[in-house]
Amino acid sequence: MDLQNFRDAEYCIDRYFDKQLIRRLDFYIDCRNAAVVSGRSSGFGVRNALMPSEDYAAGVTLNVPAKDIEKLSADMVGDSQLRHDVEVLAKAWRTAAVAQVGESRYRQLSDALGGDLAMAYVNHRLMMRMVDYEVEKSPFKGSVDYILDEARRSSLLSLASAPTTDLQQYIDKKIVERYDPGLLEKGVGKALGSLTDLALTAPMMGASSWTGLGKFVTMDLGIGFAGDAIMSKAGKQQDVSRMVSAALFASDGDVLATLRQDEGSVNPYSSELVKGVNSQLGHKIVTHSRSLSDGAAFKPKIGLETVKLPEVPDYAEQLRQAGELHFAIQEHFPQNESAAEQNHAPLQAVQTQPVTVAEAAKATVPAVQSVSGWGGLIDTLGLNGFSDVGKNLGYVLAMLPDMLVGMFTGKSRNLKFGDNMMPLAAIFAGMFVRNPLLKMLLVGLGGANLLNKAGHEALENRDGIRLQAVRHYRKYDDEPLDLRVSQPVMKGNTLVVTIDHVPSVITINDEAVDAYYKGALPLNTLTNAVLRKYDEQQQAVRENYDRQVKADESLELSRGGIK
C-alpha cells in the first residue's frame, strides 16, 4: 500500500506546528513564566495563600500549562486564518485516508466517531504536539521542584483549590513520567503534603504535639501510596494514533507513528501533496522559489485576509475540546470493522457522544477558568526556582552572608531590604511565637524565601546574567501590510523584505526582535514600522541633499560677489 500521502500529511501537520503554532505557544508560556516571576517579588503572601482572593485565583491559574493550550486553542477558534489552515491540513489527511480505505469506509468511521475523522485526528495531533511541547518546556528542574509539586498534589488543598481538567492531569502525568522520580522523592513529597494538611487541619483535629503529627503523616502517606497504585491501573490509556492506525490499515502496530518517524524522507519541494497544502495555507510551511512562469498564480502577501474558503465548517467546539475528544476517540472508536458491525449499541453511544462532550464542556468552562494549583502558592511564597538554589547550595551558602549584609547595606543590586520586609517580619515574629508549628512555618518559610532570593542573587552575580529575566511587551495589533513592501520574512534579527521592488536585508534592534518572537509584535506591523523608518531616512537624505545644493549655490554666489 502506498503510504506516501499519509507521510506527507503527517509532515505537513508537524511542520505547521513547528513553524506557526510553536511561536504562539512559546508566547503564552513566556507570559505565564513572566507572571510567575513577577509574583515572586510580591513578598511572603501567606495571607493570600490561605485566604483565596481574586488576585490569588488569577495568580494561581497562571501556573497551569493546560491554560496555554486552551489559549492557543481559543486562538485557533477565533483566528479565521488558523481555522482555515487546520481545515486545509485535515483536508490533506482526509484525502490520504479516503484513498487508503475508500469513501464509504471513511464515512462509516467518521459516523462512528460522531464527527469528521480527519478533523478530529488533526486536532488531536496538534493537541498532542502542544502537550509534548509543554511537557518538554516544563520538566521538573530537580528533586526540590518535584517534592514541592508532589506536596501540592497530595495535599487536601489541591481538592479545595479547584478541580483540574483532564488535560492538566494528563500533562502532569506526562511531566512526572518524564522526570521519573525516585522512591525517596515520592515519599518526601507526600510527607510535605501531609505536613501542610496538618497545618491547615490542626485547629480542627486538635493536633498540638509532634506525636499527633507523626500519626497523621503515617496515615496520610498510607492513603497516598494506595491511591497511586489505583491510579496507575486506571490511568493506563491506549494510544489514539494506534487505534486510528488499526481502523485504517488493519494493522496491530502504530503505522501512523512509524510514518511520522519517517518524515525525514519527505521532500517538501517535490511532494505534490505538500506543495498543494502549502499553497492553500494562510501561514506557509514551506517557502518555494518562484519564477515568472508561475507569477500569475502567485499572490503577493499584502497582509489582507484575502484567502477565505466559502465553506469552512465551524469546528470551534471540537477544537476547544480537543482534549476531551482524545478520550472520546479512545472510548468509542471501533477497534476493528467486525466489532463495529457486531455491536450496534456502542455505535449509538458514539453518535450521542459529541453532544455530551459539548454540553459537558460548557458546564465545565467556569471550572476551567478557576483551575489552580499549588504552583501559584509556591510562587507567592517566593520559592519559585528553588531547585536552582538547591543545585548550587554550597556556593549559595558560602555567599549567603555577603548577600544578606548586602541587602541591608544596599550593596546587592536586586536584593533590596524593602522587598524582603515580609520574610524578615515572618522570621522575627517566629522568634516570639510559642506554638511550635506556627514557629516552624514562620521561620522556615521566611528563611526559605530569603535563602531563595539571596541564592538567586548570588547565582546571578556569579553567572553574570539575570536568571529568568523576562521582558513584558505591549501587544500590537496586526496591521495590513503596506502595498509598497512584499514578502517580509524574519530570520534571527534580520528582516528580509522587498521595499519598492528592491530586495533588502534590514537588521532589527534586539527589543523589536524579542517582541516579535514573543508574539507581541506581528510581522506586518513590524514591517510597516520599518517602512516608516525607511521613509524618514530617505526624507532626511533628500533634505540633506537640498540643503547641500543650496549651500553650494550660496557659496558660488558669494564667490561671485568677491570677484
Partner: protein, 83 residues
Amino acid sequence: MKSFDVKRVASVYFDTEGNRCWTKAWFNDRQKGEPAIEITRKQAIAFINDQISKDSWLTRFWPKQMSIYHKAIDQTRQQLLGL
C-alpha cells in the same frame, strides 16, 4: 539596511533621423549588454516619460533575463534565510 538587488539598466535610443527606435539593457553590470530590440516611437516616448516602470519594461522585452533575475533574488533570499 542592505540591498541585495541585481543592477539593471534599460535605455532607449533613436537613429539620426529620429524615425527608428531601439531599446537596450544591461544586467548585473555586464559590459556586454543584452541584444538591442527595435521598438515603436510611441513605446520609446512612454518609457522616457516614465509611463512604464523599468521592471515592466525589462520583463516585456527580456523575459528570460528577468526570470533569471527573479530566481537569483529568490535564491539569495533562501540563502539569507538559511533554507
